[in-house]
């Protein structure tokens, strides 16, 4: 493989890694938004001591 071909292949690999990294970051960001939304839905006017109230400790 000529040095210019090697450079092109290396550039392509780097670009592929970048796009895969970007996709992974986008997936994580989307999951974070989804989880924050899901865990922000249950609003109550009070809190509870689970171990004491439910498990009787």
């Amino acid at each position: 493989m000529s040095s210019s071909s090697k450079a092109t292949a290396s550039k392509k690999m780097s670009s592929s890694k970048n796009s895969s990294g970007k996709a992974s970051a986008a997936r994580k960001a989307s999951a974070t938004r989804g989880l924050r939304a899901a865990t922000n839905k249950v609003q109550a006017k009070t809190s509870i001591n689970f171990s004491r109230s439910v498990r009787g400790k």
Partner: protein, 184 residues
Amino acid sequence: MRSKGRPPSTRQVFSFESADTPLPEEVLLDTSYVVEMLIVSQPLHAAAVNFLIRLADEGVRIRFSSMLELELAVTAFQIALKENHPKDWKRFRHDGRARPRAGRLMTEVSEAWKTVLTYFEHTRVDVEDVMDDVPWLMSNYGLASYDAVHAATARQPDAVGIVTTDVGFCSLPASGTTIFTDSS
């Protein structure tokens, strides 16, 4: 030279409030943690959510007992009672006025839990699948029955760490037990 006395404990206890806590490939979520994570008014809500997001980011698998669903329902019911009767809410279990709110809260909690699960590879273990181990855990380590069900779920088929805010799990044998809990 051999050191005297009891060998050092091999139990590993980590804080889920710390961003540096090392994460395993799979954890068992105890209901006490899930309550903090799902209900906004709980004191450890923010820390529990941040830990959940770390678990998702790192692709950690989740295991839980089917009993968690029942305990979530009981928790929602009790919170609804406590909203209506802050001081002596336990006396009002049969007060019909709290039930509509209790029903809505139970549904909201259940839906939120189902949504959270869509972001994880997870395993739901039926209580009957671990029942053989429960009496043994109770008699050997003094665990309460509910704790023993979750502990048994965490121990088979392979042992995984337990994410919890319940100190009851501290009576598990140190060897091979990993606990993720709050720092208080």
